[in-house]
Structure formats: C-alpha cells, structure tokens
C-alpha cells in the first residue's frame, strides 16, 4: 500500500507485497521487507516509526 524506497539500491516498490514471507520461518511476527531488486531486507516503518515519520513530515511540510 505504501511505496518504500530500498536504502541499498534505491528501488521504489510497493511495501505491502514485499514481505520476506513465505520463506522465512519468523515472517509472521517480522515486519521486515525485502527489496524485489537487490533482496536487501530492512524493517517496514510501522507503529512508532510510522507515527514519527508522519510527525516529522508534517513539521517539514508546514
């Protein structure tokens, strides 16, 4: 749903479909996403990080 940018190769992709599941046995509780281009994994910005990103973005926009 939310486009994310890979910090390694800079590809922009749909974060909703890029979970590391179903391969990883810990996928159910893990919020990491994997870049479809270079496979770099990094955590999805959810929960507190999402709120923080939103607050900082709003501050920058105003």
């Amino acid at each position: 749903m939310e486009p994310v940018r890979c910090p390694l190769c800079q590809a922009v992709f749909d974060g909703a479909d890029a979970g590391c599941r179903p391969s990883c046995p810990l996928a159910r509780s893990c919020s990491a996403v994997c870049c479809p281009r270079c496979r770099y994994s990094f955590p999805r910005e959810t929960g507190l990080a999402a709120l923080l990103r939103k607050a900082l973005s709003r501050r920058r926009a105003t």
Partner: protein, 668 residues
C-alpha cells in the same frame, strides 16, 4: 445492473446533502496514487469492492480550505476506454460521481503518458488538478517541467508533489479550490468530429463524463457503457448511436489508432513547450572526491577502517558502557529487579534463587534484563550508526569494496551481495543466495554466511565486548574471523569450477545523512528487534531455567566441560551461552557480555580474561546459525546439506577457538 451502477451516484447525492464533496484520485498505474491518497487522508481509510465489481477501492476523508472531501483512490488506468475490470472500475467511478473533483496523479518522469490521460479528462470536462508526482526523481534524472506554462496551456492547476515525502501536499490542497475542466482539447479529423457532433445530443448530461467523452467511447465501441446509457436514453437513441459507431468504424478505418495519433500529436506539441532536459545538479568537487575515495582500491580501506572505528567507539563505548551501565545497574539491578522480587516474595517458585521470574534464570531478572538492559542500548546505538551509513549511501560502496576483497580469493562477484546483506540478517541473506547461478555457489555462500558473517544485533554486541578489551585483542578477533572466511572461501572456490560473474550495483549519490530519516529508520529497527528478538530471549531463558530446574544444565555443563573449559579455557557457564546461542546468536553473545561486563566496568580485565573474551567471541561468531537461519538453510538447501553444514561448522568453530586460545597464550 443499472441499480448497482447508480448506487454510487445516489451515495454521492447523499454525501452532497451532508456537505461532503467527492474527490477522485485518477492516474496511470505506478504513479504513486496510493501514496498520495495516504498522505492526503492519513491513516484511516475504508476498503470496499466497487459496486458490481471485485475491484477494491479505498475511501478516506480530507479537509481543505473549509471544504470536506470524501476521497476515492482508483485503480491505475491508461484512459477512459476500459482495457480490463480495474480500468472499468476507474471509468465507472468517474461516470457515477458527477460533480466530483479529480486529482490526476502523473509520474513527472513520464509526462507524455500522463498528459494523454489528462487530455481525455479534459474531453470529459471533469474539474481537475494535475499532480506531478515523483517530482524529485524527475529532477534527479535531469527532467525540468515548466509548471507555470503547463498550467496555462492545460487550463487547470498543476502542482509538483513527492507523495512519499509529503512534499507539495499543502499546495495541492489549496489548488483543489481552483479545480476546473481543462481548456486544452484534441481536435480530430472532420469526419470524426462530425460523428461526435451527431452523437452528443443523444447522450445524457447527468453522468460524470461530458457528452463529448461519452460520444467518443460510444464511437470507439465501448460495450460496457451500454448499461449506463440504457436507463437514461431511449431505445431509438441507442440504436442511432450503434448506427453512428458502425458507420464510423466502416468509414474512418481503425478508429482507436486515429484517435490515439491525434491525441499524441497534441501531447507532443505540449511537451515540446514545457519539458526541458537539464543536467542534474552535480556534486561539488569535495563531495566528488569523497565519493571516489569510498570505492578506491587502496584509499577506501583507511576510510572503511575509520567508519568501523567510529561505529566501535559509538556502540562499544557510548552504547555498551554509558547506556548499559545506566540501564543495567541503575534501572534493573537497583530498582526494577528488587521491586519485582519483592512483589513476588510470597512465591519461592517465582522469586526464589531459582525462581521463574526473578531467579538466576528468571524471565525478568535474566530474559528481560538481557533484552532491555544489555542488548537494547547496544543495538539501539548500532542501529543509529547503521541507519546513518545506510542513509549516506555508503553501504553500496561497501559492497564494491567487499567485491574486490572477495574476488581476490576467487569468489564469484555475485556472492558479495548476500555476504554484505548478512550483516543485516543472515536468514534473509541465505535466501538471497538464490540469485547465484550454480548449486555449488549457493552452498558456499550459505556456508560462509552461517559460519562467519555476524548479523547486525550480534555485531553490535561484538562491538560492545571488544570495547572492553585492548585494541590488539580486537585485532586478534577481527583477523581470525576474516582469515576463516578467506581460507574457507578460497578452498571452496578452488573446488568450484566455472567463470566469475560480474557484480553490478547502482551507486546512489553520497550525501550527508538526514537526521529525520536516520531517526525513523532507527526506531523502525528497534521496534523490529524488540518484536522479533525479545520473545526469543524469553524462550531461551525459559529453556535455560527448565534445564537448570531439571538438573540438566549442570549435566550439560559437565559434559561440555572438556570442550568449553579444557579446549577453550572458558568458564563452565559459557556452555549455557552456547546452548542459548542456537536460538539467537546475539543472546549468546549477551550471556558472555553479562559475564565479563562487571570486570570490564571495574577495569579488572587481566590478560587471561582478554584472551577468554576473544576466544569466546570467535567461537560464538563461527558457531552454528540461529534457529531461524538454520530452518531457512533446511528449506533452501535441504536436510542433508543443512546437517552437513552443521557437522562442518561445529568443529571449525571450536577448533578455531582452540587455535586462537593456543596462539594468543603464546603470542599475545
């Protein structure tokens, strides 16, 4: 069917009566509509199937300059003539929402495609605003758009946006009040114009698209339009429309191509006036010099060493000493643990010396204390440093450096990426080994990952431990791990036939890390770590508690004593850390850290203890992979390979530990 299709129109009328206007986001696929929808409406959105279809449509709310909007996010479309169910849903939303304001989201990098759709929306006479999304990427690629001129030529507000960074949203919200039908119009050849003129009087005016757009769809043979027209116009008018469409197809040839050509002509004239290709802003001379330095064959190495040293100081000194000291001693040992033990003193089972919660292997006194007081400050500082490296664009450059080093031992260039990714998570990196071409390459990289590449959390604890010993001891550790990777890689590369493949990685511009980005990434990583690691810490503690209660831990320590005490010269309790290490390697490292930390803090580390730290760290780093990684190895490579790796790794880990112990006692 018509009732179903009219349902949105009725809903729109109800919303209008409640003072709610409709805003529809329309655009080609992959232009960032959903990102813009999220940025405009916030978190709360409802998802439902559009009536009569299986296509999901999101609806949210927006207030702009005193007006309240119900915002609809539509599936990506290339035009009003539907090419599939998704595109038909978008077209039907526009038909069923008369009076709605449209925000057309366009990829600024692909203006031509966006303007083709804009031209159709102009024909449909919908009040619109054009959002030039991904404006930053267009600029980075040297694409400059004369926004003021485009606005003037189209006759609608045009706003550059970067939805993912929430840029341009304020201007977009303000532009909604100025939304109007575009004045730009494509003119077709006279025969087609005549057919359009003949068809327009037959068509309804209460739909969301103007009669000229409806006439065009009818002439192009859009069968899906019929269900919208049937309840609104007479049978005779429908028959007349069919006649006009048949005549147009017969007299004007391939109509869709002619229409597309006419529209493209208009768009190309527009593009020639508003689109300029410019050179992107280049880096300054200083920045370009640093950029070259980062990947330089020799000069890049001291820079890499400096980066590692800065991480080591920040994580090992600030994180592992200052922060851990405070949390472990002042918060956990002096306040929380005594308080929990006091609150549970009525139960020996929970708070006794071997209690489940506050005992020696208690879930609180050990599990949470490890997770929150020891590991959390260390990984938090490490994640901060790692996120800064990531945001600066240095990581891809690190893979270039690693490529050179690994090529020197004959390893395939493609193997570099999984090895570098392993520093994040070995489990994921093991899956990445799929990109390698031969089975042997995949097995080799999986083995090297499981053997010698520490994951980020483990690396953080390693930094913390090394901060408590001398620089020479740290070099012993780093040298040993690198030597093992190189020797195993070199030997394996000897038995792997075939040519080396090229390693291609796109280097993003090197830049100063942005504090906001670094902070958010760090928080995301800490959240991820707490969610994934903390439960396993508790499981590990529970396992140790159970083994201890059953007397099995002492038995295991006795059984492992010849190996742990005899061969490695480590304290007997280190056996517990190796057992827990199978759950998570950083948990094992935390156990070792907790053992030596009081001595490090007191400055009472002797030469023998420093050797023990290096031996323990070397063994645990080379030790069998964590349970998640092991399960993925089984899944990816099969049981037999996984067990063979285990059989290889265990003796290598203990053998290397023993060799380091012997060498250090002689030469350190």
């Amino acid at each position: 069917m018509s009732e179903v299709l009219d349902a949105p129109a009725r809903a729109t009328a109800e919303r209008a009566a409640a003072g709610l206007r409709t805003l529809v986001l329309v655009g080609n696929a992959n232009v960032g509509k959903s990102a813009l929808f999220g940025a405009l409406t916030g978190k709360y959105a409802t998802v439902s199937n559009y009536p009569g279809t299986t296509v999901e449509v999101m609806r949210g709310a927006l207030s702009a300059r005193g007006a309240n909007f119900s915002v609809l996010d539509t599936p990506g479309t290339s035009g009003l003539f539907p090419g599939g169910e998704d595109e038909q849903a978008t077209r039907d939303i526009l038909l069923g929402e008369p009076g709605a304001t449209v925000v057309q989201v366009c990829d600024a990098k692909n203006l031509r495609r966006g303007l083709l759709l804009a031209l159709e929306l102009a024909e449909a006479q919908v009040p619109a605003v054009l959002a030039l999304n991904m404006a930053d990427e267009a600029w980075e690629r040297g694409i400059a758009i004369d926004v003021a001129l485009l606005e003037q030529l189209l006759g609608i507000p045009v706003v550059p946006t970067v939805a993912v960074q929430r840029q341009g949203l304020r201007a977009l919200r303000e532009a909604l009040a100025r939304a109007r039908p575009a004045t730009l119009e494509a003119r077709y050849d006279p025969a087609l114009e005549q057919a359009l003129s003949d068809a327009q009087p037959l068509l309804p005016r209460d739909l969301g698209l103007a009669p000229r757009a409806l006439a065009m769809l009818a002439l192009l043979g859009d069968a899906s339009l019929r269900s919208w027209l049937r309840p609104r116009i007479s049978e005779a008018a429908l028959r007349r429309l069919d006649d006009l469409a048949q005549r147009a197809a017969r007299d004007l040839g391939p109509l869709r191509i002619r229409v597309a050509q006419a529209r493209l002509q208009v768009v190309d004239i527009l593009l020639a006036r508003v689109l300029h290709l410019v050179l992107p802003p280049g880096p300054t001379r200083g920045a370009a010099w640093i950029d070259r330095l980062t990947t330089h064959r020799w000069l890049g190495l001291p820079l890499l060493a400096a980066v590692l040293y800065a991480c080591y100081q920040f994580v090992g000194v600030f994180g592992a000493k200052v922060c851990v000291d405070f949390l472990e001693r002042a918060v956990f040992a002096e306040r929380l643990t005594p308080w929990v033990a006091g609150a549970l003193r009525w139960s020996d089972f929970l708070a006794g010396p071997d209690g489940l919660i506050a005992g020696r292997y208690g879930l609180f006194s050990m599990g949470l204390s490890y997770g929150l007081a020891i590991i959390l400050p260390i990984v938090a500082t490490f994640f901060l440093a790692f996120s800064a490296l990531e945001d600066s664009g240095y990581l891809p450059r690190l893979s270039v450096m690693a490529d050179r080093a690994l090529r020197a031992i004959g390893l395939n260039g493609k193997a570099v990426l999984p090895m570098v990714l392993g520093l994040g998570c070995d489990t994921m990196a093991t899956m990445t080994a799929r990109v390698l071409e031969t089975k042997k390459e995949r097995v080799l990289v999986t083995l090297l990952l499981a053997l010698g590449v520490p994951c980020s959390a483990q690396l953080a604890v390693i930094f913390a431990m090394l901060a408590g010993v001398s620089a020479a001891a740290s070099l012993w550790f780093a040298g040993t791990i690198l030597a093992v990777i190189f020797v195993v890689g070199w030997l394996a590369a000897k038995v792997i036939p075939g040519s080396r493949s090229d390693f291609v990685v796109e280097l993003p511009p090197l830049r100063l890390p942005q504090p906001a980005n670094v902070l958010v990434k760090t928080v995301a990583r800490i959240e991820w770590y707490l969610r994934e690691a903390l439960p396993l810490f508790l499981v590990g503690t529970l396992l140790l508690w159970g083994l201890d209660r059953a007397g099995a831990l002492a038995a295991l320590e006795r059984a492992a004593a010849p190996l742990v005490v005899g061969l490695l010269d480590l304290p007997r309790e280190a056996a517990g850390a190796f057992i827990a290490g199978f759950l998570r390697r950083d948990y094992a490292a935390a156990g070792l850290f907790a053992h030596w930390q009081p001595l490090m803090r007191a400055g009472a580390m002797t030469r023998g203890m420093e050797i023990q730290v290096v031996v323990a760290l070397t063994t645990i780093t080379l030790f069998i992979p964590c349970i998640a990684n092991f399960l993925v190895i089984i899944k990816e490579r099969g049981w037999r390979t996984a067990m063979a790796m285990l059989a290889f790794i265990l003796p290598v880990a203990f053998g290397t530990g023993a060799a380091v112990n012997a060498l250090m006692r002689r030469f350190y």
